[in-house]
C-alpha cells in the first residue's frame, strides 16, 4: 500500500509539474497574444494615419493636375 502511494505521489507530482509548465506556457502565450492585440490596435491607428496621408497626397496631386490643365 505504501509503495502504491509513493508511486502515485510521484506520478501525481510529475503531472502537477506538467500542468504548471503548461500554465506557464499558456501565460507566455497570453502575453504574446496581448502584445499582438495591442499591435492590432496600433495598426488600426497606423492604417488610419496612412490613409489620411495618402488621401492628402492624392488631393494635392489632383489639385496640381487641375492647375496644369488650366
Amino acid at each position: 500500500m505504501h509503495v502504491n502511494r509513493v508511486s502515485f505521489d510521484a506520478k501525481l507530482k510529475a503531472l502537477e509539474e506538467f500542468v504548471v509548465q503548461l500554465n506557464e506556457e499558456q501565460k507566455k502565450q497570453s502575453n504574446q497574444l496581448q502584445i499582438s492585440s495591442e499591435l492590432r490596435e496600433k495598426m488600426k491607428e497606423i492604417n488610419q494615419t496612412l490613409n489620411k496621408n495618402i488621401f492628402e497626397m492624392n488631393y494635392q496631386l489632383f489639385e496640381d493636375n487641375y492647375q496644369k490643365k488650366k
Binding site: R5, F8, L15, L22, N31, Q32, I35, S36, R40
Partner: protein, 625 residues
C-alpha cells in the same frame, strides 16, 4: 441352559483352536453315553494351551449340566485359570456362569456371588450386554436364596433394565422371574404377582419350562396369601408342564422343578387338612430335592415338613425336621459366609465406585479438555474473523484510495488536456498574428519603395507634394520599426535585461543619427542582466524607455541622457535621467505619452514616478520580479 452352553461352545469353536479337539469336544458335549470316551480322545489331542482351556471348559460345562458337582468345580477352576491367561473373555464368562450354578446348588451363595461379581465386572468393562443381564440375574437369585430380598430386587431390576434395552425375550423373562421371587419372599405378593404375570407378555406359550416356573411361582405367592385352591390349580399346571419330556429327555432342572412343585402341593394339602395326601407329596418332594442335589430345595423341604409335622402334633418328627432344616440353614447362613458375602458386596461396590470416580474424573478432564479445545477454536476463529475484518477494511481503504487517486489523476489529465487545447488554440492565433504582421511589414516596405521611386523618378517641384510623400515614407519606416520591435517581443517567450539593452542600444544609435549632439549612457548592473522578464513586461519596459528618450530628445533639448538599471532589494529599478529644460508637472497636462508610460508600467504591476525641474527630468520605474 443347555441351549446356551451349546451356543457358547459354537462361539468358542469359531476361534482358532485345533480342528481335531473341536470335533471331539463337540461329540463329547452332545453325546449321552459316550461322552467320557470322546473326552479321553480330546485330551490326547491337546496340543496347545488354548486346546487345554477348551477341554477343561467343556468338561466343566458337561459336569455342571449333569449335576457332577465336585468334578464341575475342579474343571471349572482349571478352565478359569487358563482362560484368564489367554484372555478368552467370552469363554471365561461362560465358565463363571457354570461355577455360579454349581455353587448355588451347594448353597454356597458367597462363592457363587464372588464369581457373579467377577463376571459382572468383566461384562461391565467389556460391555457384554448379554452377560450383564446374566450375572445380575444370578446376583438377584443369590441374594434371594440368602434371604436378602431388597438387594435381590435391586439386582433383578438392574438385570431387567439391561434386558429391556437389549430386547432379548429370554433374558427379560429371567430378570422378571428374579424380581418376582424376591418380592414374593419379601412378603410383597402384589408386586410379586405383577412381575410374575409380566412374564406372559414375553413367553406366550413358547418356552414351556419358563411357564412351568412362572405357574409354580404364582401358585407359591397365592399359597402365601392362603388362596390354597387357586394356588393348587397354578402349581398343578406347572407340574404338568414339568413332567413333559422334550425329545424323550428330561430338562436339567427337571428334579429341581418337581421338588418345588411337590413341596408346594404338599404344603397346600396339609394346610387344607389332607394329611395323607400331604405325606405322599412330601415323600416325592424329598426324593426330587435330593435328586436335584440342591441345598435350597432340601432346605425348603425340611422347613415345610417340620411345619407339617408340627400341625399334626408329631413332635418327634417336628424336632427332627427342624434340626435338619436348621443344620442346612446354618451351613448356608454361617457367620463367616455372611461376612464374606458382605465383604464381597462391599468390595464390588467399592471397585464400582472407584471406577465411577475414575470415570467421572476422566469425564471432567475430558470436559475440561473439550472446553479448552472449544476456547482455543473460538479464539482462533475470533482471530480469523478479526483478521478477515482487518483485511476487508484494508482492501476497502485501498480501493477507496485507488478510486480517489484515479479521480485526482483524471482531474489532472482533464486539466492538462484542457490547457493543451487552449495552448494549441493560442498558438494558432499567434501564428495567424505573425503571418499577418509579416504581410503588413512587406506591404509597408512596398509603400516606402514606391514612394521613394516616385520621388526619385519624377522631378517634383511641388514642395507640398514632396513633403507629403516624405511624410508617408517616414511614417511607414517608423511603423516598420515599431512592427519589428513588437514581433521581436512576440517571438520571445522570455526577455532578459541584456536583450532589452541590445534593443535599446539599437534605438539609441538611430536616435544619435537624428541628433548627434546628445550623449547617451546606458548601464546595467551585472546581477540584473540575466533577470528574465515576460514578453509583455519586456515590451512595456522597452516602450516606456523609448518614450522617455523620445521626450528628452524632442521636448527637453537635453544633451545628456543616462539610463541605469539596478537591483533594489527584490525589485529592479530603472532610471532615465536627462539634463534638459524639464517641465512643470502642474502646468503641463499629461499628454498621451506620459499617460501611456504610466499605464504600461502599472499594467505589469510596477511603479512609475516622474520628477522634473529646470535642470532636467528623472523618470523612475520600479519593477517587481
Amino acid at each position: 441352559m443347555k441351549k446356551l452352553s451349546v451356543f457358547i461352545l459354537f462361539i468358542v469353536f469359531g476361534n482358532s483352536y485345533s480342528q481335531d479337539i473341536q470335533k471331539h469336544l463337540m461329540k463329547a458335549f452332545t453325546s449321552q453315553d459316550s461322552s467320557d470316551y470322546y473326552f479321553k480322545i480330546a485330551k490326547r489331542n491337546i496340543k496347545s494351551k488354548a486346546d487345554e482351556s477348551q477341554y477343561y471348559f467343556c468338561k466343566n460345562a458337561r459336569c455342571t449340566d449333569y449335576n457332577e458337582i465336585d468334578s464341575a468345580l475342579v474343571y471349572g477352576k482349571k478352565a478359569i485359570k487358563i482362560l484368564k491367561e489367554l484372555k478368552d473373555y467370552p469363554s471365561l464368562c461362560t465358565a463363571y456362569s457354570n461355577m455360579i450354578k454349581v455353587y448355588r446348588k451347594q448353597g454356597r451363595y458367597d462363592v457363587a456371588s464372588s464369581y457373579a461379581l467377577e463376571g459382572l465386572t468383566l461384562a461391565e468393562n467389556l460391555k457384554y450386554r448379554y452377560w450383564l443381564v446374566h450375572f445380575n440375574v444370578y446376583l438377584s437369585l443369590n441374594y434371594h436364596d440368602f434371604e436378602s430380598y431388597e438387594k435381590g430386587v435391586f439386582y433383578g431390576k438392574k438385570a431387567l433394565q439391561y434386558a429391556l434395552n437389549k430386547k432379548e425375550k429370554d433374558q427379560i423373562t429371567s430378570a422378571l422371574i428374579a424380581v418376582a421371587i424376591n418380592y414374593d419372599d419379601w412378603n410383597k405378593p402384589d408386586s410379586a404377582l405383577y412381575y410374575h404375570k409380566k412374564v406372559f407378555d414375553y413367553v406366550k406359550g413358547k418356552d414351556t419350562m419358563t411357564l412351568s416356573s412362572t405357574y409354580n411361582n404364582i401358585g407359591n405367592t397365592l399359597l402365601k396369601q392362603k388362596k390354597y385352591k387357586e394356588a393348587e390349580s397354578w402349581i398343578l399346571r406347572a407340574l404338568r408342564i414339568t413332567k413333559i419330556k422334550i425329545d424323550g429327555k428330561q430338562d436339567v432342572k427337571y428334579s429341581y422343578n418337581l421338588a418345588t412343585n411337590y413341596t408346594n402341593l404338599a404344603t397346600i394339602a396339609y394346610e387344607l387338612g389332607d394329611y395323607s395326601k400331604a405325606e405322599k407329596l412330601f415323600e416325592k418332594a424329598l426324593y426330587y430335592s435330593k435328586e436335584s442335589n440342591n441345598a435350597e430345595k432340601l432346605r425348603d423341604y425340611y422347613y415345610h415338613k417340620s411345619k407339617f409335622e408340627k400341625k399334626r402334633n408329631n413332635l418327634q418328627k417336628t424336632v427332627e425336621e427342624q434340626e435338619n432344616y436348621i443344620k442346612l440353614r446354618d451351613s448356608v447362613f454361617a457367620i463367616e459366609r455372611e461376612q464374606t458375602f458382605s465383604e464381597l458386596e462391599a468390595k464390588y461396590q467399592n471397585e464400582k465406585k472407584e471406577k465411577e470416580l475414575l470415570r467421572s474424573k476422566n469425564e471432567i478432564i475430558q470436559n475440561e479438555n473439550e472446553i479448552k479445545r472449544k476456547n482455543t477454536h473460538f479464539l482462533i476463529l475470533s482471530l480469523i474473523v478479526v483478521g478477515l475484518l482487518v483485511i476487508s477494511y484494508l482492501i476497502y481503504r485501498q480501493q477507496k484510495l485507488k478510486n480517489k487517486q484515479q479521480e485526482q489523476e483524471f482531474a489532472l489529465k482533464s486539466a492538462i488536456a484542457r490547457i493543451e487545447t487552449q495552448n494549441e488554440l493560442q498558438e494558432q492565433r499567434l501564428q495567424i498574428s505573425r503571418d499577418l504582421h509579416d504581410n503588413i511589414g512587406s506591404q509597408l516596405t512596398f509603400i516606402i519603395s514606391s514612394v521613394d521611386n516616385i520621388k526619385f523618378a519624377f522631378d517634383l517641384k511641388n514642395n507640398k507634394l514632396d513633403g507629403k510623400l516624405s511624410s508617408i515614407s517616414d511614417f511607414a519606416k517608423d511603423t516598420i520599426i515599431e512592427l519589428r520591435d513588437t514581433i521581436w517581443a512576440m517571438n520571445k517567450s522570455e526577455i532578459t535585461f541584456e536583450d532589452l539593452q541590445i534593443r535599446i542600444h539599437n534605438f539609441i544609435e538611430k536616435a544619435k543619427q537624428a541628433k548627434d549632439t546628445i550623449t547617451f549612457n546606458f548601464t546595467i548592473q551585472n546581477d540584473v542582466k540575466t533577470t528574465k522578464l515576460s514578453s509583455i513586461e519586456g515590451m512595456n519596459i522597452y516602450r516606456t524607455i523609448q518614450e522617455a528618450i523620445n521626450n528628452s530628445i524632442k521636448y527637453a533639448n537635453a544633451t545628456q541622457i543616462d539610463i541605469e538599471v539596478n537591483q533594489l532589494n527584490n525589485k529592479k529599478q530603472i532610471t532615465i535621467i536627462d539634463n534638459g529644460i524639464g517641465f512643470n508637472k502642474h502646468e503641463i497636462e499629461k499628454g498621451n505619452g506620459l499617460q501611456n508610460m504610466q499605464k504600461r508600467i502599472e499594467e505589469i504591476n510596477g511603479q512609475f514616478s516622474l520628477e522634473s525641474s529646470k535642470n532636467g527630468t528623472i523618470i523612475t520605474l520600479i519593477i517587481k520580479s
